[in-house]
């Protein structure tokens, strides 16, 4: 797939190529029309106007980029240009300089130079092969006696086509490299984003489970509910909704007030809700705050001893604040158990995960106030790649100009210099200037290669270029200045362009024009020169135009880097969001499937009234499922010994229910995969949840096998005997005592 930088480059490149072609051709042809009398003025006027009109039509049609139109547009354009070349005998002034710089040549050059941005390489070769001969034939017809002298200069057309093509290739390759780099970064960032979102969602899901299904089952399991109750059925139905609801990790915005009103309506309390009419926040933030509010309200119901509570929601800058307050009996917030799974863990940790915080303020007799704060904006995963794309563009363009400058120095300037050795007043300034330009180009190439910036040295070197240029001009006899002998006249500009490539556009244009002005002024002071005014305009327009175009491209690329990075960022965010959503959905489905044949039927039965929470069997099943959830909450990949960590969570719960647990472990245990670990602890968790009195829980490991054993007074039918996932279970009933041993042998 084409990346955003490359796409942006091709679009912008085409636009600028067309504009430059339009402007250069108009300038050259109109100036010639007014300044130099053509052999057949009538025909010349007609041809110039027709050419410019066609040019405008061509540019508009090309910019629309319709493939159907393009198929005939380019051939017609080539025919038009060839026609103008062949008819130059009527339209171009005959007394141009030795390099034959007429407006027709400028037209042919700009056409060829702008083509790489419009057509493919093969088509470019074909077009060059048509236009160059057409121009040469036209020149022979126009000046039969002079054409041999000027032919070498006109063949430079081919080289210009190659240079322009090279520039295009370099920059496009840079764009592609930038896209690839951006893409690699994106992949890394996306993986990180998915992982982070999964963690957040997992925590969020567990927290929701903790507040809903787990709380309900624990309550029923503890025998708090004597029989079927309307509110319990409603609660179970809501719990089912929560555990089956899709993940909330989307960037969608929702109305927090509406959600809070829903939450407030779900409790037996009289709740006063205060705040703005509507408060728009991201879905994740809303879900977090609502879950927190629900938990705070549940605590009011359980512990406060009052039947009313206040919820206040407000927006403080970019922070959403929700407060739940009651005037109940309160508690000593300083002396809450630190590692409990209650308010502290689920509220404080949950708020921290979304970058907010929670605070519980209470004292005996003073009521309780839970304050939750959450930033309203969510995290952005995508990064800014302006720098990456910008650097790639700059490097690509830099190399293009280096190559161009070397080609011009060796293939154009050096031949001019060598063939005119006798003409110069002194040869050494010419050699010095040429060598100087070459050395500066080589230095710039070296800096580029090392991936560094030109830095302040560039200004010293610009001054050197100016000095060398003046020196070279001085050593040329006035009558030859600005002509073919004066090779450094326009071409010194290339070295300046190379040095100022990453300068601001104004600086670039200013210094470049100053260089030209200095040389022209130098020549003008001597009075005499080798070319006519129109010839000078034509020569300057084409060379300076090209150089300015390079500067312009540099500036455009800098802008393009920013806009491409913006596009890349938007696309990345979209793709990341999709990938995250897809992964989270899969996770949720898996987790729901995990609860489908245990918790879900229980909740369904409680919701429909089919199961009586006062029934001993139902009570015990609920206790077992609640204990399993405790174990799930204790699953923590950072715990050094996960098996013991999970068992301890269940022991803690059992001890809170008045069970005395004697726990012992011995031996060396291998790491047990999560699925096997769950199966292995299944009997122990169920026994702990339903036992009375004393329980012995032991874990032993030897020879790569692990045994979890539990001896307890509990109903044997409630203790499962799993024989899956590499786990073997044996049960022994001895009077009231049930002894279940589960052994996993996967570590052998």
């Amino acid at each position: 797939m084409t990346g955003s930088a490359e796409r942006g480059l091709l679009r912008q490149g085409l636009r600028y190529a067309l504009v430059m072609r339009l402007a250069v051709m108009a300038a050259a042809s109109l100036v010639s029309l007014f300044v130099e009398p053509a052999p057949r003025p009538g025909v010349a006027v007609a041809v110039v106007l027709a050419i410019n009109a066609w040019n405008a039509v061509y540019a508009t049609a090309m910019a629309r980029r319709a493939a159907r139109v393009r198929r005939w547009l380019v051939p017609v354009d080539v025919l038009v240009v060839c026609g103008a070349c062949l008819t130059q005998v009527w339209t171009a002034a005959p007394d141009v300089g030795a390099d034959g710089m007429s407006w027709v040549l400028v037209m042919a050059e700009i056409t060829i130079v702008s083509y790489p941005w419009q057509i493919g390489t093969a088509a470019l070769a074909a077009v060059t092969a048509a236009v160059v001969p057409a121009y040469l034939v036209g020149a022979v017809i126009a000046r039969p006696d002079e054409w041999l002298v000027s032919a070498p200069f006109q063949l430079w057309l081919v080289m210009e086509a190659a240079l322009s093509w090279g520039l295009y290739k370099f920059v496009r390759r840079a764009a592609r490299a930038a896209d690839r780099q951006v893409e690699r970064g994106e992949l890394l960032r996306r993986d990180a984003a998915i992982a982070a979102s999964r963690r957040v969602d997992e925590h969020e899901y567990l927290a929701a489970l903790h507040d809903t299904a787990s709380a309900t089952l624990l309550m029923v399991g503890a025998g708090v509910v004597p029989g079927p109750r309307r509110w319990l059925a409603d609660q179970a139905a809501r719990d089912l909704d929560v555990i089956s609801e899709p993940s909330v990790a989307s960037h969608r915005e929702v109305d927090l007030m509406g959600r809070l009103r829903e939450v407030a309506g779900l409790t037996p309390l009289r709740v006063r809700l205060r705040g703005p009419d509507a408060l728009s926040v991201p879905a994740v933030t809303a879900a977090t705050l609502c879950h927190g509010t629900r938990e705070a309200l549940t605590n009011v119901v359980r512990h406060s001893g009052v039947a009313e509570a206040d919820i206040t929601a407000s927006l403080d800058g970019d922070t959403v604040v929700v407060e739940v307050a009651d005037a109940g009996r309160g508690f000593d917030a300083e002396h809450l158990p630190r590692h409990g799974y209650g308010v502290t863990r689920s509220l404080v940790e949950r708020m921290r995960r979304v970058g907010g915080r929670a605070e519980v303020v209470s004292a005996p007799g003073q009521g309780c106030r839970v304050r939750m704060e959450c930033p309203r904006t969510t995290r952005q995963f995508a990064a800014d790649d302006t720098e990456v794309i910008g650097t790639a563009f700059q490097t690509g363009l830099g190399w293009a100009v280096v190559v161009m400058n070397l080609v011009i120095l060796f293939l154009l300037d050096l031949p001019k210099l060598l063939t005119n050795l006798d003409t110069y007043r002194a040869v050494w300034p010419q050699v010095l200037a040429w060598g100087g330009f070459l050395a500066i180009t080589a230095w710039a190439a070296l800096v580029l290669r090392r991936g560094r910036q030109l830095g302040r040295w560039r200004w010293v070197l610009v001054a050197v270029v100016f000095a060398l240029s003046a020196l070279a001009t001085e050593s040329i006899p006035p009558e030859h200045r600005l002509g073919a002998v004066h090779w450094s006249e326009g071409d010194a500009g290339w070295t300046v362009a190379l040095l100022l490539l990453d300068a601001r556009a104004v600086v670039f244009v200013g210094v470049l024009l100053a260089q030209y002005a200095m040389t022209f002024g130098h020549a003008a002071l001597a009075g005499d020169s080798a070319v006519s005014f129109a010839g000078l305009v034509n020569a300057t327009v084409i060379v300076l135009g090209y150089q300015l175009a390079v500067g312009l491209i540099a500036a455009v690329l800098r802008g393009l880097a920013a806009s491409s990075a913006k596009v890349a960022r938007a696309e990345e965010e979209l793709r990341t969001a999709e990938a995250v959503a897809e992964q989270l959905h899969r996770d949720r489905m898996e987790r729901y499937a995990g609860l489908a044949d245990t918790t879900v039927p229980l909740l369904r039965g409680l919701a429909s009234g089919a199961l009586d929470p006062g029934d001993e069997g139902v009570r015990q099943r609920c206790a077992v499922e609640a204990a399993k959830m405790r174990r799930l909450f204790a699953e923590d990949t950072t715990a050094p010994d996960q098996l013991l960590h999970e068992l301890r969570a269940c022991i803690e719960l059992a001890e809170r229910n008045g069970i005395s647990v004697s726990f012992a472990e011995c031996g060396v245990r291998p790491e047990i995969p999560r699925v096997a670990r769950r199966t292995l602890t299944e009997p122990a968790v169920a026994a702990l949840a339903t036992a009375r009195g004393r329980v012995r829980l032991t874990v032993s490991g030897s020879d790569g096998s692990v045994t979890v054993s539990v001896v307890a007074d509990c109903p044997p039918h409630l203790v499962p005997e799993p024989n899956t996932d590499g786990v073997r279970t044996s049960t022994l009933v001895d009077g009231d005592r049930v002894w279940v041993q589960a052994t996993w042998q996967g570590g052998r």
Partner: protein, 213 residues
């Protein structure tokens, strides 16, 4: 009457041990107690048949040195410790401790362990049994698969009747198994008079034959 000296740095533990000993049948007399191992060397503690020793008397780690000196003087030492890790348990037994009890096992096993120590009959409480059953050191004695099985089942369920039912054995066989393992452990590693006495007694009682060792 069996006599003990209690060395523990926690007064509540000493009080608890005194209470259990007073209620024991036959009763056990606590002749001396203290937070320092010195009470076991000085009169009247030096006359006690059994020393109940807390292995962790200060921050310096297990008091192996004190244990070694007591064992070399021919004292029967019952280790009574907070530590339940296999390395400490096995190291204490290797030095020559009579048996090893964790603080959690005190209520059920301390009195029985003292009686056993006084009569030089092996006594293996569950935690020690678990340590034997999962021992993977190169110099461990060779146990039969049945013996390892019994050791681990006893560790897990703390009821010899249930172990017997689980493995289709009699309680007598379970006890015999545990005792034989204890003798095998007494016969390896460092030599100590207490260990030798245990082995001699076992051979004399026909619990184990000399060629089995």
């Amino acid at each position: 009457m069996n006599t003990v000296v209690v060395v523990d740095d926690h007064p509540a533990v000493i009080a608890g041990v005194r209470a259990w000993c007073a209620l024991a049948d036959p009763p056990i007399e606590v002749v001396a107690s203290g937070t320092n191992v010195g009470v076991a060397w000085l009169s009247p503690g030096d006359q006690a048949q059994v020393v109940i020793l807390d292995l962790q008397l200060d921050m310096a780690g297990p008091a192996y040195g004190d244990l070694k000196r007591l064992v070399d003087a021919g004292r029967q030492v019952v280790i009574y410790s907070m530590r339940a890790d296999r390395e400490t348990v096995l190291a204490s037994l290797d030095i020559g401790a009579f048996t090893y009890l964790t603080k959690a096992e005190g209520q059920d096993h301390l009195v029985a362990a003292v009686h056993a120590a006084a009569t030089n009959t092996p006594y293996t409480p569950p935690m020690l049994s678990g340590a034997f059953g999962t021992d993977d050191r190169p110099n461990r004695p060779r146990l039969s698969p049945r013996e390892t099985e019994v050791l681990l089942e006893w560790f897990h369920c703390e009821s010899k009747e249930m172990v017997a039912r689980q493995l289709n054995l009699t309680v007598r066989r379970v006890n015999a198994c545990l005792e034989r393992v204890r003798i095998k452990y007494a016969n390896v590693g460092r030599t100590a008079p207490t260990k030798a006495a245990l082995v001699a007694r076992a051979i004399q009682d026909g619990l184990i034959r000399a060629d089995e060792l």
